[in-house]
């Protein structure tokens, strides 16, 4: 079952869902609008390789906007910390951005129970598109799971900046030492 806007609101107030900062004006009938953080990382490596750390370049979005180019994967992050132990989070783009040909993730919409962080966005555009920091770009929805829970042991769910593919995470290895690798 997918939570309605009022159910998301109640769950945030009850502490079952983390959305921080939270603004009730950003609630939709069955989702919550998230905003685009100011920092992007552009992947430079060509070809990219899941067994090697990717070379990236940092882009700070100026207030007057920045034109994203087709053919490049940009990693961004949500302004909001999003997650929780109770409901499964799914992240998509807003239709207003889809109508401009902007992807906010690349077929990886599903979050993990137990993680709460600023989500890394995998951004690509079909045509050049000027985007702005803090604009409302996408939506998260929350889904009721069934079954026993297990602790979250992943890497990315504890990191709140745009994070490139980690070779250890790509190989399916646990989070402990990887966090240090990511911080280094």
């Amino acid at each position: 079952m997918i939570l309605t806007g009022p159910a998301i609101h109640e769950s945030v107030e009850a502490g079952q869902i983390t959305i921080a900062p939270f603004d009730a004006d950003l609630l939709n009938p069955n989702s919550y609008n998230y905003r685009l953080g100011r920092t992007l990382r552009q992947i430079i490596s060509d070809p990219t390789d899941p067994t090697r750390p990717a070379e990236t370049a940092v882009i700070e979005l100026p207030d007057e906007g920045y034109v994203l180019r087709p053919g490049i994967v940009y990693l961004g992050a949500t302004v909001e910390t999003v997650g929780g132990d109770e409901y499964v989070t799914s992240l998509i783009g807003r239709s207003s951005l889809g109508r401009l040909g902007m992807f906010l993730q690349i077929s990886a919409d599903l979050g993990n129970l137990g993680s709460a962080h600023q989500w890394t966005l995998e951004i690509k555009v079909v045509q050049p598109l000027r985007v702005y920091p803090n604009m409302k770009v996408g939506q998260v929805s929350f889904w009721k799971p069934t079954g026993a829970r297990m602790p979250y042991g992943g890497l990315y769910g504890g990191i709140s900046e745009p994070t490139a593919c980690s070779p250890r995470a790509a190989a399916g290895l646990g989070a402990g030492p990887v966090r240090q690798e990511a911080a280094a």
Binding site: M1, T4, P29, V67, S96, L97, G98, D109, R130
Partner: protein, 174 residues
């Protein structure tokens, strides 16, 4: 929970799900197949801007088809008007269409409960692909909500045909 095909058919009969025109032949085991409408549009500028209205032109899709190019975002719509005040619709491509490398939305698959109209499709072709009016392009699924329902009354309500982005209104409101 996702509705099965027979559950979708039953909810169409009660009016809890609206699909018009509706054809029971298009019911699938857990979705309903929708058609591409007759109109398509695109932005006339190459570089688009979220903060400004982007000029947009609309055309009929010729009956002999038209080729979509990879470097342009095209907006079309479902032929059907689709919506529900009781279930959450989610749209996606039919796998036959995905196997041609055609996206029918750009990461915007979730429809607000209470919205009703021809859904705008965001067509992106990985390789050149020819499309035709009335093509069976996608599927809509229906999901059970949890919590009090507040119906959509947003800027795309009652859409007919492709509707360009209105995101620039967010900036005008500032």
């Amino acid at each position: 929970m996702i509705l099965t095909g027979p559950a979708i058919a039953a909810q169409v009969k009660t009016g809890a799900i609206q699909i018009a025109p509706y054809d029971e032949q298009r019911i699938q085991p857990n979705s309903y197949d929708f058609h591409l409408g007759e109109r398509i549009g695109w932005y006339t500028n190459k570089v688009l801007d979220c903060a400004r209205e982007n000029p947009f032109e609309e055309h009929a899709i010729p009956s002999e088809g038209m080729v979509l190019e990879p470097d342009r975002i095209y907006l079309a719509s479902t032929r059907e008007k689709i919506g529900s005040d009781f279930y959450v619709p989610i749209i996606r491509a039919r796998s036959s269409i995905a196997r041609l490398g055609l996206f029918v939305h750009c990461t915007a698959d979730l429809i607000d409960i209470g919205s009703f109209g021809q859904l705008t499709l965001q067509l992106h072709a990985v390789q050149r692909v020819r499309i035709y009016p009335g093509l069976l392009v996608g599927q809509v699924t229906f999901w059970v909500p949890h919590g009090e329902i507040v119906l959509y009354e947003g800027k795309y309500q009652g859409s007919e045909g492709p509707r360009p982005s209105l995101v620039h209104r967010d900036f005008e409101a500032r």
